[in-house]
Point group: C2
Chain length 255, copies 2
């Protein structure tokens, strides 16, 4: 449901997309209980598809269920985000290792080569087209998953990257606000190229290490963004971060 545009359930799809957007935009503060009836009215759907949507978002990790029933907006610490990125690194490292081990001929690398080439030309220009870069970056990561050829691993990666700040290009927009963003992109692009090289030479251990280190670049960006308000705002889902020092965050009343 979250990936395929299932036009079979329009109401459910509408509810998931709208609610996810609202959650990521920080429309509901973390820790707040979301009531079905009010949400149903707000989103313009009935309670039945809404409840399904709440379940989907719970699987994604954006909501938590209360023991007494009902849902609460999740709250994430900086450590949670760091762990989520580390986890993605581990999983993409495994994907890279499998890609090297399960090598299916030179042609299989074409999509990844094209993504790298696209990012090469994009990073060469002075004013980078971030949207296009994000698209190419995601093609790269998709190609990696394809090469790993493991439905199980893909499932795990899908769940790990469902959290917005853990996705491969979560911090690309935030980079725009950082002074060293040009340098970071150069490094990331070199890692892309090295990863492609490692896979094409079937150097599985090197491929795994590279992919892990590539994810740690996102962790560096996270650290940088945490001390830069403008950069943090550009990270999707930043509103779900636990605020540094509020006294009474709970007890807020939701719509």
């Amino acid at each position: 449901m979250t990936e395929q545009d299932d036009a079979r359930s329009p109401q459910l799809l509408r509810a998931v997309l709208q609610l996810r957007a609202k959650l990521l935009a920080g429309e509901f503060p973390p820790g707040v209980r979301v009531a079905e009836l009010t949400l149903a009215a707000l989103l313009g759907v009935s309670r039945t598809p809404l409840r399904l949507a709440l379940g989907v978002l719970e699987h994604e990790g954006l909501l938590r269920t209360l023991p007494s029933g009902g849902f609460v907006v999740s709250e994430f610490t900086a450590a949670d985000i760091a762990d989520a990125i580390e986890l993605r690194g581990v999983l993409e490292g495994t994907a890279a290792r499998l890609a090297a081990e399960r090598w299916a001929g030179p042609d299989s690398l074409t999509p990844m080569r094209e993504a790298v080439a696209a990012m090469d030309t994009l990073t060469a220009t002075p004013d980078i087209d971030f949207a296009a870069y994000v698209a190419a970056n995601e093609r790269f990561h998709t190609a990696l998953q394809t090469l790993a050829a493991s439905p199980m691993l893909n499932r795990a990666l899908a769940q790990a990257t469902a959290l917005p700040f853990a996705s491969p290009s979560a911090f690309v927009h935030a980079q725009a606000e950082l002074a060293e963003h040009q340098r970071i992109l150069v490094i990331a692009q070199d890692q892309h190229r090295c990863l492609l090289d490692a896979i094409s030479h079937r150097e599985s251990s090197r491929a795994e290490s590279l992919a892990r280190e590539h994810a740690r670049l996102a962790r560096r960006n996270l650290d940088a963004a945490l001390s830069n308000r403008a950069a943090l705002e550009a990270v999707p889902g930043a509103a779900l971060l636990r605020s540094p020092k509020p006294k009474e965050r709970r007890h807020a009343r939701s719509a």
Copy 2:
């Protein structure tokens, strides 16, 4: 829902447990479409909680949604199971590494020490109590997750081990049917001990490697079980394995 005994939703809980049990028992052949109405009658619940239960089981991986709506029983290949075990190894390896890195004092290792001690005494007896061994083994793996202290990683591990044949003790019962089961248990127990040693000495890299290799023991058991009908029967969810050479597996009619 799948973990906490939420007595708040008795119907949903009933549906999940019953349906999961039936699926694992092979009551519905893989590839068969499960119809809501018939299932609701079979399980004694209404369609609303049943639909929620279907969603839960889909998230666990036991069901797949059809593009046209409705659910199908998942089918797994031997490669899928091998990958699921490999994935668990990667994740537990990460848990072991984090446990070593995040060392929280000697007392934190007490639960793991006790689990190892319990398995030591259990494996010492000639006629091993498999149920007790499984319980201790799961205490060990739970302790590992606790030591990792990462909710994100725990979530990934929960999903990875939700598939029955990927859980840490999936093949313990199958081992009983294997000739070399005594030797395998000795090896596994040594790995448990080494892992504990590595964590207690904060040898993170060694801990990760050991946990990965420990999971590969399950892969060996899988290979052995695949050529041993009696052993395979003892593996939960074995009925969802793609049969070696059926001509017309689909088109079966479900209840």
